[in-house]
Amino acid sequence: MIKFFKSTFEKIIEGTLFLSSTITTLAIVLIIVFLFREGIGTFNQSPIEEGFSLVVNKNNPINELSAQQIKNIFDQNITNWKTVGGNKDSIILFNLDNISNFYSDSAIGENFEFLPQCISDYTEKHSGVVAFVSTRYTGKGFTGKILTTPKVTITQFISQKEWFPTAQPAAQLGVLALILGTLWVSFGAIVIALPLGLATSIYMAEVANPKVRNFLKPLVELLAGIPSVVYGFFGLVIIVPGIQKLFDLPVGETALAGSIVLGIMALPTIITISEDALRTTPKAMKEASLALGANKWQTTARVVIPYSSSGITAAAILGIGRAIGETMAVLMVTGNAAVIPHSFLEPVRTIPATIAAELGEAPQGGLHYKALFALGCILFIITMAINLIVGYVSSKKKYNTR
């Protein structure tokens, strides 16, 4: 009886432990579900705000305008219908705010009750007109043509350059600039961090005497633990003004500042992992090299580094991963201009920084909100890919003891 009770108890505990271990998997599944559910929502929506539509004269042959064309038209970069494939007719932007210039108060009505007729009338009279109006005004009796706008597509999302999710009349959802910004800053970071980090790890593993190493190791660990806002803050008060003065720039918040801060932040990751990898080199192997008359550097370069190359590669990739996913520090020092960077001395904006900066203002469930989740999806996919690569690289069998 007692035995039965005991074994049941053990089974219960084992079950509890098992359940705990499934939570990690569950968490990942949940993250994927929630991230992608919101993110994919981006692609079923029109870039034009719900409840509004674009209208033109009914004789205008144009039936559809893309988000980009809309933006260009309203920014007056495109001024003739011919440019977008229509008649040769200059575009007239109709703005509801100016309606009183064209119609008397009485024509509009005391409570704007005749507004729809006025809009209808105006679009009918001007062949080149385009207006952005509430769908309330374009119901029964409206004589203009309502344009359709293609829904946001994945290709568009990825390949378009402009990120301006709050633009009127049509949100511009191109993440190319953000992706390039992220890669740009991370690339700079890794260019800084990789040589420094690898050199330091080699120094710690192969050159430094134990006393120096015992001082360096905890220092590096400590720096791995310092919050990213603190690095960002340091960047903001030291590196940003430094860069501004050094290069005589209007602002110091640049890709370079981001790269430097991220580079410093990636150092502990790179140093720790690559030092661990270097240390796995069997002592016997190093001794064999020395016994053949190689000096320490030859041993390091020809035996230790090749032996630990997969670990070193993993360190580098994880360093990149850390840089790509970092949010706060970058947000604080890169200036956050959503444009494709042309040099390290210009402001850029990365994917994580965009999410952090905009999510607070994006109305829940709206297109902007969903687009930010789509950015999260991209980030998620990138980091998953990095994880898989690291897993693959570090699992590659290097040494067969038998």
Partner: protein, 292 residues
């Protein structure tokens, strides 16, 4: 075969050059790291006093203290640990002690690694979508804690696993041979031996949780809230977010600089204490285990 003097001189010269490059690079790394630390300590130390630590922020966060942010961060640390410690330690035990099936083990390992690699801002998105919006917790301690807890879960799992792995199998066999059940063996023999390393891992994850900003941005952190929370459904201020706010978007960035230095120093001090505690524990228990 005679090795010429020239060859030897040549290779020793190369060694000298290479090693000196490593020395210089390491020195750059160490100096920049030390520079960051000392810069913040130097500027922050004069700001920190009892009032700073225990007073509410005043005058648009340009004066006063950071008390609510400290309390908020402590709440988040406690909340996330309540979630992450049991689940993380349990998973670690299950993975290391119960799974023989190497496929399941590999699978869980892959999942843990993947979870560990997800950027913190993605956790923020997820937490907002699930805890804040779907479960309707709103911006609250519970939403932030769960998000942070999930984020450090892989750290706790991994350290537990490593700690258990370092316990030699002979102890398990010895106990089992004496007729102890598996659970008894784990409870009475394995866990006590692995305990110091598990604790060290947990302490380090406390450090991580206390400094993260991105996951709490949209799940709990309040811009300015000069009162203490009364329930887990309240918003709180948090140290890292506070530092972000007063250094980038406060009402008067210049005037709140001293507060920013102070906050940064408190954050660093927290990490420092956590690291020292972890090291001390490791040493203390290391000795004790050896003595037994």
């Amino acid at each position: 075969m005679i090795i010429s003097k020239k060859v030897i001189r040549n290779k020793n010269l190369k060694e000298k050059i290479a090693f000196n490059i490593f020395r210089v690079f390491s020195a750059i790394v160490v100096l920049s790291l030390v520079a960051i630390l000392s810069f913040i300590i130097y500027n922050g130390i004069s700001v920190i006093n009892w009032t700073f630590l225990t007073a509410m922020p005043e005058d648009g966060m340009t004066k006063g203290g950071i008390f609510p942010a400290i309390v908020g961060t402590l709440c988040l640390v406690a909340g996330s640990m309540i979630f992450a410690i049991p689940i993380g330690v349990f998973s670690g035990i299950y993975i290391n002690e119960y799974t023989k099936d190497s496929f399941y083990k590999r699978f869980i390992k892959l999942m843990t690694n993947n979870l560990a690699g997800i950027p913190s801002i993605v956790f923020g998105l997820f937490g907002m979508s699930l805890f804040v919006n779907t479960l309707r917790f709103g911006d609250s301690i519970i939403a932030g804690s769960l998000t942070l807890g999930l984020m450090v879960l892989p750290v706790v799992i991994r350290t537990t696993e490593e700690a258990l792995k370092s316990v030699d199998n002979s102890f398990r066999h010895g106990s089992l041979a004496l007729g102890a059940t598996k659970l008894q063996t784990i409870r009475k023999v394995v866990l006590p031996m692995a305990f110091p390393n598990i604790i060290t891992g947990i302490i380090l994850s406390v450090g991580r949780v206390s400094g993260e900003t991105a996951p709490i941005l949209f799940t709990v952190a309040a811009y300015f809230l000069p009162k203490l929370p009364s329930s887990i459904f309240d918003q709180v201020m948090a140290l890292p977010y506070h530092l972000y706010v007063i250094s980038t978007s406060g009402t008067n960035i210049e005037e709140s600089r001293p507060i920013a230095y102070g906050t940064a120093l408190v954050l660093i001090g927290f990490v420092l204490i956590v690291n020292l505690a972890a090291n001390a524990l490791r040493k203390y228990f290391g000795k004790k285990v050896k003595m037994n």
